[in-house]
Symmetry: C2
Subunit: 243 residues, 2 copies
């Protein structure tokens, strides 16, 4: 499994993904699930992936092909005029991968479940964030629900539901995302450290803040410990149910 989440704020977008892949609990490996494309001063695009690793790697290969390698040249992530067009490029690559691999997966009764979170900024357009479905279509984050999760989303959702707001500072949103990971990591073995985190600041059109957070990361250790302590204290402070 995978856990990946992104939160869109007024000040930017926070992206994070774990790095564990597995084909059964007896066969785990580490793969980066966060990919970015950029032309400094012009565009920054970030993608998080979940689902079948062969399919998401195929999609990345298609997205990274030079236009001259393609059978039918068209828009690329480096030439798309806006984020909507860029998301369509990703959706089309996913549909192409599905047309190649989908039938064989079906024969083995494996579902085609690869999906992406894709976001960033192109030129003067404000940053945008999309959830791209296995079918290649997508939805966009709004102020009502400013975050997307893919993969094992349930354990880490309650804290996002309660706290996420578009007015948050980037550092607070990064803290929130790591708390959401903390709950998920405790409950699902197929989600594993390290976490890749990328924080994009609106209108900078460059990537400055990327970090890999492993088991020994002092901030993550502090956060996990303090949060457990605070939850237990909060629990104690509420009066018991009168049975």
């Amino acid at each position: 499994m995978t856990y990946a989440v992104a939160v869109k704020l007024e000040r930017g977008i926070v992206f994070a993904a774990d790095t564990r892949t597995n084909a059964g609990v007896d066969n785990i490996a580490q793969y980066k699930k966060l990919t970015c494309w950029r032309i400094p001063g012009e565009r920054v695009l970030v993608m998080l992936s979940a689902g079948n690793l062969a399919v998401s790697q195929a999609v990345l290969s298609l997205l990274n092909e030079a236009p001259s390698d393609k059978e039918y040249p068209g828009t690329t992530l480096y030439s798309a005029q806006n984020m909507y067009r860029a998301a369509r490029v990703v959706g089309e690559a996913l549909r192409e991968a599905r047309s190649i691999d989908g039938p064989s997966l079906e024969v083995s009764k494996l579902s085609f479940s690869t999906s992406f979170i894709f976001g960033g900024q192109i030129g003067d357009e404000p940053p945008r964030l999309f959830h791209i479905y296995p079918e290649g279509n997508f939805i966009e984050a709004t102020t009502d629900t400013p975050f997307f999760q893919i993969g094992e989303h349930k354990y880490g959702k309650p804290i996002l539901d309660r706290v996420a707001q578009t007015s948050m500072k980037l550092g607070d949103a990064a803290k929130l995302v790591l708390l959401s990971f903390d709950s998920t990591l405790r409950s699902n073995l197929s989600v594993g450290l390290p976490i890749d985190m990328l924080t994009y600041e609106t209108n900078t059109l460059k990537l400055e803040h990327t970090k890999r957070i492993g088991q020994d990361d002092p901030y993550f250790k502090m956060l996990s410990g303090e949060w457990s302590k605070a939850l237990r204290a909060a629990f104690q402070n509420i009066e018991a149910f009168d049975i």
Copy 2:
């Protein structure tokens, strides 16, 4: 869907289940999923059910048949010598229901997913708690993991993982169970109020504490509000991630 949970403590067992059933989001209804059997001074047995309602009702009908109605009379919940034997009675009833309904469900590609949490106390034996699988076999709660959940378990699990301990007081465990419900109710529409809660106190061999907790329950409203406030405060009190 359903959410049901029970926590086994030194001082007793807390049981709780929601009351929503659904056949699609456009077809919901309210059914009690908590059932008890008792002979005061001798035994108290409690069962929570999740999965196909027709199957769990069939199991209840089989369990409640008089011995004289049965084709092959045997042990009943009122005659089982201990909790292990009682859990086997439930498992057998589930297997019987599966042999009746299973093949037809299979034709419609519906999985046989009914499962139960079953616990209580018989005579001098300490209280015991079981999770009974769709196959009719079961596992027992231990001090390492003193709780069981069935149905939509993921949203409400992180708080149980962090706080549940066998040394808790019954009123604190009831508070914990309601917090676990609060997270679940916020995230899954197919889990709905009211909650049926039953608190059994070790060695009383009677049922004194049962409660139905609805939307207007003042304790649940207070708990939900205070918990949200405390979580937000705990979140604010931890330093932000330094991006």
